[in-house]
Subunit: 141 residues, 2 copies
Amino acid sequence: MEKVVADTLKRSQLSVTDSRKRILEFFHHSDGALAHGDIEKLSGDQFDRVTIYRTLQTFVEKGIIHSIPTADNSIRYALCQQECEAGHHHDNHVHFVCDSCGNTFCLNHVTIPPVQLPEGFTSKQTDVVVSGICKKCGINP
Amino acid sequence: MEKVVADTLKRSQLSVTDSRKRILEFFHHSDGALAHGDIEKLSGDQFDRVTIYRTLQTFVEKGIIHSIPTADNSIRYALCQQECEAGHHHDNHVHFVCDSCGNTFCLNHVTIPPVQLPEGFTSKQTDVVVSGICKKCGINP
DNA sequence: GTAACTGCAAAATATTTGCATCCTT
DNA sequence: AAGGATGCAAATATTTTGCAGTTAC
């Protein structure tokens, strides 16, 4: 894991620092998406709030993570698939937000159905966010 | 217009006040979704920041407007269709965010395609946000 | 050694809450 | 008249910025 994480950072031409490694590991270990606050808790105040902001921003710019649209104001992030280049994120999977446990997941194997836009509109990216009850909460409500 | 707006408020059992009427009119006159900041600008500081927060929150609770998920942290709101009941918002149209002008539109006539979820997941609502270039910006870039 | 990254302090912004006053019903 | 809504002040929370010290390469 240590190595995978370091490689990802190197591939994006980022210095391999402690906080970046730790934060990236959180994403690898998490089964869902993470918000800024989640990372703060996970880190146990090991590094500065500001470092988390800057690290997340850097990761998004480099295409390592992507932000997930949510109807409430919480911004959540999840790992990108391999194909994302810096600044050109193409995310074609569905996001699922569980109303019960609040977790957000990337459903990597559910592809986005095509959307028929009105005349004159051009589509660059389509985000689909499904909310409901996730597998875990369906079993233990 | 005056009357339509007042009726909407009455139907939701809300007192018909000045700020509520004004804010609701903004939504009727706008061709896109509005963020808190947009309303502040439109009102020309006529009413308090706090009133806008509270009014928007009330409108969402009553099902008059709905919030639109966005990948950045800006929360935008748009008018609901008639069928929305308080607390039980069912929004089955596509949202479009223009990368050029930044406007957000409800594409009321584009229906959401069905999404095939993995075993064990239950869907309650599906939001689709398409980003790209809108009709207006496609003509005058 | 140098450029990049982090932590701290502080500023700028955004959001929430309590309470007194005013307005709608 | 009574209950709800607004405005103001202030408390909280969130995000950004500048700069000095530290670390990766």
